[in-house]
C-alpha cells in the first residue's frame, strides 16, 4: 500500500536539514502573515487612532466605510484627507498582493526540487512588493501627520505607526531571507524532471481553502475568549491597563445580581432540557404505533403531514401561535362565534402559567413527526422473521412490540438520548426569543437567550463571554462523558 502510493519518480535525493529549516520557517511565516491579513490587532494600515480598531488589513484594503466609520467630523473637515485614505487603501492592497505571492510560494514549496526552486522566486518578488506597500503606508502616515500638524489637529487625529507595521516589516524581511537561502541552497540539476508535486501535498493544497474557512469561522472565535479577561467596552480596546484576570469568572459566583440571574436561567434551562429528555421516548411511541396501522396509505399521509412543522422556522411557529392563541385568534373566535361563550378574549400567549409545559408542547408539535422518521426507518429494517417466529411462539402484538420492536430501536434511541444529555445546556435561543414577553421573561429565559440578552442586548461582552466559555467547556465535558458511557456500555462511540 505504502509503496504503491508513492510515485515512481521519487528517486530525487531527500532534502538536507540545512535546506529544510529555512523552508519550514518560510512556510510558517507565510501562513502566519496570510492569517494576519484578517487580524485587526496587527493591522499595519491603522496609521491613525481614529481608524476603526476592528478593521483588519484586509478590511482596510477593501472597505472605505469600515475604516472611516468612527471618524465623523475628522473626515468631514478633512483633517484626514480623502486622498490619504485612498492611498492607504491602495498601499494595503499592494501589501496584500505581496503576501499573496509569498503564500503562493509557500504552496509551491511543497513540490519537487524544481517546483520548490521556482516557488522560492515568488517571495523574492513578493517580499519586495510587501516592502513597497509598507513604504507607501509609511508615506501615508507621514502625510497624515504633516497635514494634521498643519491644521493643528494632531491631538485629534492621533497619527501613529501601528505595531502591525513593525510586524509586517519583520514578516517581509523573514520571508525574503528564508526564501533566498532556500532558493540558493536548492540547485537545479540537469537531470531534474519537470515541475511536479507529490500527490499527498497536492490533495492537501486542494483541501486548504476549506480548512482555512473552517478555521476562520469555527476556530478563530476562540480567540474572542480573551475578552473574558479584560474590562472591555464595545468600541474600546483591550490592553494591560484593563486586564482583570479572572474577575469576570469570579463574578459568576460572587456578584449577587449575576448569581441570581444565573440560578434562574439555569433552572429554566435544566427544566426545559429535562422535560425534553423525559419525553424523548415520544418519537418511538409515534413510530411504533404508526407501524401498527395496517393501511400504508394512512401511514404515509400521517407521516407527510406531521413532518411539515419541522421545516418552518420558529418565527413562523410564533406567527401560528398568534393566529391560534392570541386575543383575536382561533381559540377565542371559536369560543365566541361557535360556542357562544361570553367575553372570550384571553391572549394565551401573554399568560406566564405553565410556560415550560407550553414550550415543550410547541417543541413536540414541531419535532415529533420528524424525529419519528429515524425510528420508522429503524422498524422497517427489523428482520420480519423475528415477528413470524414470535407469532408462532404465541406472542401477541404487544409482546411483539415489547420484545422485538423496542429492543430493535434501542441502539438508535441511546445515541439520541446521550446526545441530548450532552446538549443539556444548549436549548438554542430562537424558540424562547420569539415566545418571550414581559409576562413570561422570568421563566422562559434559557442560557442561550441569556447570553444573547446580556452580550448583544446590554453590551456586557466580558460577562457574556465568560458565561459562553463555561457553557462550551461544560458542553464538551458532557459530550466526552456521554461518549465514554456509550463506549463502556455499547462498545461504540457516538461522535
Amino acid at each position: 500500500m505504502q509503496a504503491s502510493a508513492k510515485p515512481v519518480r521519487m528517486a530525487e535525493e531527500p532534502q538536507s536539514v540545512a535546506q529544510r529549516i529555512p523552508l519550514w520557517i518560510y512556510r510558517i511565516v507565510a501562513l502566519v502573515a496570510g492569517m494576519a491579513l484578517f487580524f485587526p490587532p496587527v493591522n499595519p494600515g491603522r496609521v491613525s487612532e481614529k481608524i476603526n480598531s476592528a478593521a483588519s488589513l484586509f478590511t482596510t484594503g477593501i472597505s472605505y466605510s469600515t475604516i472611516t466609520n468612527s471618524m465623523g467630523r475628522i473626515l468631514r473637515s478633512q483633517w484626514i484627507q480623502d486622498k490619504d485614505i485612498t492611498l492607504l487603501m491602495v498601499s494595503c492592497v499592494i501589501l496584500m498582493l505581496g503576501v499573496l505571492f509569498c503564500a503562493a510560494g509557500a504552496c509551491m514549496s511543497l513540490g519537487n526540487r524544481r517546483m520548490r526552486r521556482t516557488g522560492m522566486l515568488l517571495p523574492l518578488v513578493g517580499a519586495p512588493v510587501m516592502g513597497v506597500g509598507l513604504f507607501m503606508i509609511y508615506r501615508v502616515y507621514t502625510s497624515i501627520a504633516a497635514h494634521a500638524e498643519e491644521v493643528g489637529k494632531a491631538s485629534t487625529v492621533l497619527p501613529i505607526l501601528p505595531t502591525g507595521f513593525t510586524v509586517f516589516v519583520i514578516f517581509a524581511a523573514l520571508l525574503f531571507c528564508t526564501a533566498l537561502i532556500a532558493f540558493l541552497s536548492t540547485r537545479v540539476q540537469a537531470d531534474d524532471e519537470k515541475m511536479n508535486m507529490d500527490e499527498k501535498y497536492r490533495l492537501f493544497l486542494m483541501m486548504l481553502p476549506v480548512i482555512l474557512l473552517s478555521f476562520i469561522f469555527a476556530y478563530l472565535p476562540i480567540w474572542g475568549w480573551r475578552f473574558a479577561f479584560f474590562d472591555y467596552k464595545p468600541g474600546g480596546t483591550i490592553g494591560p491597563d484593563n486586564f482583570v484576570g479572572f474577575k469576570w469568572f469570579g463574578s459568576l459566583f460572587n456578584d449577587p445580581a449575576t448569581v441570581r440571574d444565573l440560578v434562574r436561567v439555569l433552572r429554566n434551562t435544566l427544566i426545559m432540557s429535562g422535560l425534553g429528555i423525559a419525553t424523548s421516548w415520544l418519537p418511538i411511541a409515534f413510530a411504533v404505533l404508526l407501524a401498527e396501522i395496517r393501511s400504508t396509505k394512512f401511514q404515509r399521509v400521517v407521516q407527510t403531514l406531521t413532518t411539515i412543522p419541522n421545516f418552518i422556522s420558529w418565527v413562523l411557529v410564533y406567527a401560528i401561535a398568534i393566529c391560534i392563541f392570541s386575543t383575536d385568534g382561533f381559540i377565542n373566535s371559536f369560543l365566541t362565534n361557535v360556542m357562544h361563550v361570553e367575553g372570550a378574549n384571553t391572549n394565551y400567549l401573554q399568560i406566564a402559567d405553565h410556560t415550560w409545559l407550553k414550550m415543550l408542547l410547541w417543541g413536540t408539535w414541531k419535532g415529533v413527526g420528524w424525529s419519528a422518521i429515524v425510528y420508522i426507518a429503524g422498524i422497517a429494517g427489523i428482520d420480519q422473521q423475528l415477528y413470524e417466529a414470535a407469532r408462532v411462539d404465541g406472542a401477541n402484538r404487544f409482546r411483539c412490540i415489547w420484545h422485538i420492536t423496542i429492543p430493535g430501536l434501542m441502539p438508535t434511541y441511546m445515541v439520541m438520548l446521550l446526545m441530548s444529555v450532552a446538549g443539556i445546556l444548549s436549548n438554542g435561543m430562537e424558540q424562547y426569543l420569539v415566545f418571550e414577553n414581559a409576562m413570561n421573561k422570568d421563566v422562559i429565559e434559557v442560557l442561550d437567550l441569556y447570553v444573547y440578552h446580556i452580550g448583544i442586548g446590554q453590551n456586557q461582552i466580558p460577562l457574556s463571554t465568560v458565561v459562553g466559555i463555561s457553557k462550551s467547556l461544560i458542553g464538551v465535558t458532557l459530550l466526552f462523558a456521554a461518549n465514554g458511557i456509550s463506549k463502556a456500555i455499547r462498545g461504540e462511540s457516538i461522535i
Binding site: R202, F204, R397, D448, G455
Partner: protein, 318 residues
C-alpha cells in the same frame, strides 16, 4: 412475502381488544395530524377571506366573503396578497432571502461536494487529522458572543457576505457526501485515473454526476435552512435593515405594536378601499407569514423523498 402480506396473515384472528386498539390509534393519529396542519389551513383562510369578517372572528373553518347583506358566504379573495406590494421593506427582505437561498445553498453544495470527495482520498497529507479538524466543529463552538466578535473583526456585520460565506463549510453535509462517495465503487474512479484524469477531472466527470442524489438532499435541506434563517440576520445586521431576511422582517412585524397599516407607503395601484381594509395589522402579519410558508410547502413534496436518506446516512458517522 411483503410486510403487508405477512401482516395480513398474522392478523387473521383479531380480538375485540385488537379492534379497539386499532381504532384508538387511528383516532390518535388523526387528531395529531389535524393539529399539525390545521394552523396552516387557518392561516390561509384568514388571508383569503374578507378582512372585516376576519377581524370579527367569523372565519373559523371556511374562507368567507361578505354578501350584499353583510353576512359571510363562502368565497375567496387575493387582495391581501396583491396589497403586500405596498408593505414597506418587505420587498428587500424577500430579495435578500431569495438571493442567500440560491447563492448560499449553491456555494455550500459545491464546497461540501469538493471537501467530501477530498476527504475520501487516503493519500492526502494528514488526511484523518484534517477530517477530524472539520468534523469536531459540529460538537464545539466558542459561544455566541465570541462568534459575534469574530464576525465583527472580519467585517462581516452589515454585509450580505455574512449570509453565505460562513455557511459554506458545513461539516455534517461533508460527512454525508463522504459517506455517499465511499459507497461508489472505487473501480469507476480508478479506471478514470488510469485513463489519465486528474483529481479535479475525476471529481467533475465521475464523482459529481454519481453523487447527485446526496447533493440534492443537502441542497434542499440547505435551501430550507437558508430560507428559514433568522438568527444571523438578527445578530449581524443591526445597522442595515435593508439586509434583514424575511424571517427577521416577519419577526419585526409580529412584534410591532404600532399599526402595520401605517407602514404602508402611499400610492400604488391598490384601490383606496382595499388599502383601507389592509389597515388591519393582523391580516398583514398573517399574509406575510403565509408568503414565507408557501415556498416551504412547495418544495416539501420533493424533499420528502430525501428524508430517510438524509437521516439514515447521518447515523453512519465516521
Amino acid at each position: 412475502m411483503s410486510k403487508k402480506d405477512i401482516a395480513a396473515t398474522m392478523h387473521i384472528k383479531r380480538s375485540a381488544g385488537d379492534w379497539i386498539f386499532d381504532i384508538a390509534v387511528i383516532i390518535l393519529f388523526s387528531v395529531f395530524t389535524f393539529i399539525c396542519i390545521f394552523p396552516f389551513y387557518y392561516l390561509l383562510i384568514n388571508t383569503i377571506s374578507d378582512n372585516d369578517l376576519v377581524t370579527s372572528g367569523k372565519v373559523n373553518f371556511i374562507p368567507l366573503l361578505k354578501n350584499a347583506a353583510g353576512d359571510g358566504v363562502f368565497g375567496v379573495q387575493i387582495n391581501n396578497y396583491l396589497a403586500l406590494r405596498n408593505v414597506q421593506d418587505l420587498g428587500s427582505s424577500v430579495l435578500v432571502t431569495v438571493a442567500r437561498t440560491i447563492i448560499g445553498t449553491a456555494l455550500m453544495v459545491i464546497t461540501s461536494a469538493w471537501a467530501g470527495y477530498l476527504v475520501t482520498k487516503q493519500k492526502m497529507w494528514k488526511r484523518s487529522f484534517w477530517y477530524r479538524f472539520l468534523v469536531i466543529t459540529m460538537y464545539f463552538n466558542a459561544g455566541l458572543v465570541p462568534w459575534y466578535m469574530n464576525m465583527l473583526m472580519m467585517g462581516l456585520t452589515d454585509n450580505f457576505l455574512a449570509y453565505i460565506i460562513p455557511g459554506m463549510v458545513a461539516p455534517y453535509n461533508i460527512i454525508l457526501v463522504k459517506t455517499y462517495i465511499e459507497s461508489i465503487p472505487a473501480s469507476l474512479e480508478e479506471s478514470a485515473i488510469i485513463d489519465g484524469a486528474g483529481t479535479t477531472k475525476v471529481w467533475l466527470k465521475i464523482i459529481l454526476p454519481l453523487s447527485v442524489p446526496i447533493l440534492a438532499t443537502i441542497a434542499i435541506f440547505g435551501a430550507v435552512g437558508n430560507w428559514n434563517s433568522f438568527q444571523d440576520s438578527l445578530l449581524l445586521m443591526n445597522n442595515s435593515p435593508e439586509l434583514y431576511t424575511l424571517q427577521h422582517r416577519l419577526y419585526i412585524y409580529l412584534n410591532s405594536s404600532s399599526n402595520l397599516g401605517a407602514m404602508m407607503s402611499q400610492g400604488g395601484t391598490v384601490s383606496e378601499q382595499a388599502a383601507a381594509s389592509m389597515l388591519n395589522q393582523r391580516v398583514i402579519q398573517y399574509t406575510v407569514s403565509m408568503v414565507s410558508i408557501i415556498p416551504i410547502l412547495l418544495v416539501y413534496p420533493f424533499m420528502q423523498r430525501f428524508f430517510v436518506k438524509g437521516i439514515m446516512l447521518g447515523a453512519v458517522k465516521g
